[in-house]
Symmetry: C2
Subunit: 416 residues, 2 copies
């Protein structure tokens, strides 16, 4: 069974918002054994939407549409869908009641624009939207299915999980498809390819390997297709195991795992608390760590010491070290680690000081010069990163490396 | 002149990475008066790529392709492009030298996979890639243009700016198109629509208004099309001015501005320094603020006080207040503001304490209960947010609201 994804919105074509819905939908469809034949973005006007619908129906069994259902005037989707499938828009009492109820719960009254939202195609099955006011719509059309959902990500996700995926699974017989993804940090794509070249060459044709690099991490995805799901999964699993054994030093997890979660598990298993001291990353590493639910079990907190005064005041970094070596130096990040354990708490600390850019560089220490340190009361290890010129990318790259460094430190100094 | 964007990669179809390139390319093309007719994602295999190329050429004058040029084995793009345009792959000495040089600079040797990267279609003009090893390719095909670029965002961006956009502008005559975007915070889409309904109804047909809501902010985009660029821009500008005047209390900026930058300008103009105290947001607000270049001119730093001990130790929050009202309370965030100004520094402070979820909720204080406070030495204002159940979204939503609250505080208490 093949699906085709259409995102409607001029705001995507002109680049004002990024289409994150398609990625999430692609993941969910794949997990459920459905293949995505294509993804396309159509403008907010009739002709473009019709062309995308034609294209989707020529390539797939189900066309899933997001966007173009909001309460404001830039939306034409519903009219086009009704016309395309031979229906017409009628005022739908139940939808209007549900809109009214939704606003009553918020202590507000619906507007006239919300009233217009209650006009629905008379040939669509309406799908209940638990997270917002616009219901989903399910059309049967020439043996195929058209589904329309709001573009707001959490509304779309709720509709997909509760309504759309169960209906698709009931309507279409599925092919067997299996994925496994190994997550690595700290080694580049080409070096990894060299280390596994011989294994890769012996992969059977129905199992493919893809390299997905991103900011200091590379994901290795094995995808298999076959007749029988159970035996296919076993086969892909056994290949994943072989690749993982080969790359045991750099694989930190699988699937949708994240390095910050992997590091969190290491800390928690060892009964350690972490504290952070960030200068140029401004809180980003704390944010990464605390984006993991339950991180309070191993994260004390930290200091964002953006100014030199604060490095002294909160962490006790010595003014001599700062003036002699500069804030971006190995000596300062080492003192920051010691000061963090002393004044903030925790058994293990990360410290970061660098020049994120675009300003602040010198010939000696150009933009992208970043010192990292990870340590405990006994030992501190420091690392000099030479990142690029882009502030945002430097911050992200530094965050990923800080977590990588922390993981290596924990594995070396706290072996299980 | 119309462009069509193709992203190549199974990893996008199965949702393992999000296509951010297309959004950036759409922005740049629009800024240069070129329209994006569609965006599509094709799988890593010949048939799918060929179909996307056909589709693109039927809809646009230039087809811009990203992805499928890396050094590993999952790439077929180059072969398909050569075949499609009637060329063949030949070893390209100069490209190989540039790859070798690139690795020499890193103190490493190219691998065999990198050598394969030096095979290039003999009918393509090669575009210099300053940020990586894979050059871009420019094909002329039946009066139209096909361009292939690597998928790594900073390589693609560099190629677009330095090579592709200048060539496209030289080759195609441009239509006049003008955009203006007003950025608002703190008010929902429907309420904004009500406040500007009469203005919106008098917009001429060649100027459109779109509402782009996202996590507590709504962008209002005016797009005009016309014959003469100068008069069109003047017309769109004058409409933007009318909408901005109507919404003066909630518009914080225009275009690609960000709330954290707008707040930064207010602080800097007033000679104020900000400090932050974050519990449930774990450093995210500090990260937002320091994502703006030059933020050290108005941001001192802050404390990530994830544990209750740290709220006492770093900020002097009283143990009585914590035990009497709980860490997530108006009383605690008020003491956090006072303690931040006292112990961290700055004239203005933000404090945040809440339950980001998914765990940690109680009947009294369910997940999504978040207290915010902004204050100076004289006055502190607190706000209770009732966010949702999703941790990541709660953190982002809280960050956006904290900045909104700070902006309102600055405008009220430090009028220019």
């Amino acid at each position: 069974m093949k699906a085709y994804l259409i995102t409607i919105g001029d705001e995507i074509l002109i680049g004002q918002i990024i289409d994150t819905n398609s990625a999430w939908m692609g993941q969910q469809l794949n997990l459920n054994g459905m293949q995505v034949a294509g993804i396309t973005t159509a403008p907010d006007e009739e002709q473009g939407i019709r062309a995308a619908l034609q294209e989707g129906l020529s390539k797939a069994d189900a066309v899933l549409i997001t966007g173009g259902l909001g309460p404001t005037k830039d939306d034409v989707t519903k009219k086009v869908l009704a016309g395309f499938t031979g229906g017409r828009l009628l005022f739908h009492e139940e939808t209007y009641r549900s809109i009214t109820r939704f606003f009553e719960q918020l202590g507000r009254k619906p507007t006239e624009a919300h009233r217009l939202q209650a006009y629905m195609p008379d040939n669509a099955q309406l799908l209940r939207n638990r997270m917002g006011t616009a219901p989903g719509m399910w059309f049967e059309h020439g043996g195929k299915v058209l589904v329309s959902m709001p573009g707001v990500p959490y509304e779309m996700k709720s509709l997909m999980k509760e309504e759309v995926l169960p209906r698709l699974k009931a309507q279409f017989p599925l092919r067997a498809i299996a994925h496994r993804t190994l997550l690595t940090s700290g080694t580049g794509e080409s070096r990894i390819a060299e280390r596994i070249a011989d294994l890769e060459d012996t992969l059977p044709p129905h199992i493919k390997l893809a390299y997905l690099p991103n900011l200091g991490q590379v994901r290795l995805r094995l995808s298999g297709e076959g007749a029988d799901l159970a035996s296919l999964e076993q086969e892909v699993d056994s290949w994943a195991k072989r690749f993982r054994e080969r790359l045991v030093d750099i694989v930190f997890g699988e699937g949708a795992d994240r390095l910050q979660a992997a590091v969190g598990r290491l800390l928690q298993e060892r009964g350690l608390f972490l504290a952070t001291a960030e200068s140029c990353t401004g809180g980003y590493v704390g944010h990464l760590i605390t984006s993991v639910p339950g991180s309070s079990a191993y994260y004390t907190g930290g200091a964002v010491v953006y100014s030199n005064e604060l490095k002294q005041k909160l962490l006790g970094v010595s003014p001599q070290t700062l003036s002699q070596h500069g804030a971006v130096s190995e000596e300062v990040v080492r003192e920051m680690v010691a000061g963090t354990i002393e004044h903030i708490g925790g058994q293990v600390a990360i410290a970061i000081s660098g020049i994120a850019g675009p300003g602040g560089g010198t010939p000696d220490k150009p933009v992208g010069t970043i010192w990292l340190a990870v340590g405990n009361r006994q030992v501190t290890e420091a690392l000099l990163l030479r990142a690029g010129k882009d502030r945002e990318k430097n911050i992200q790259y530094t965050g990923a490396h800080a977590l990588h460094l922390l993981r290596q430190f924990l594995l070396r100094h706290y072996p299980q």
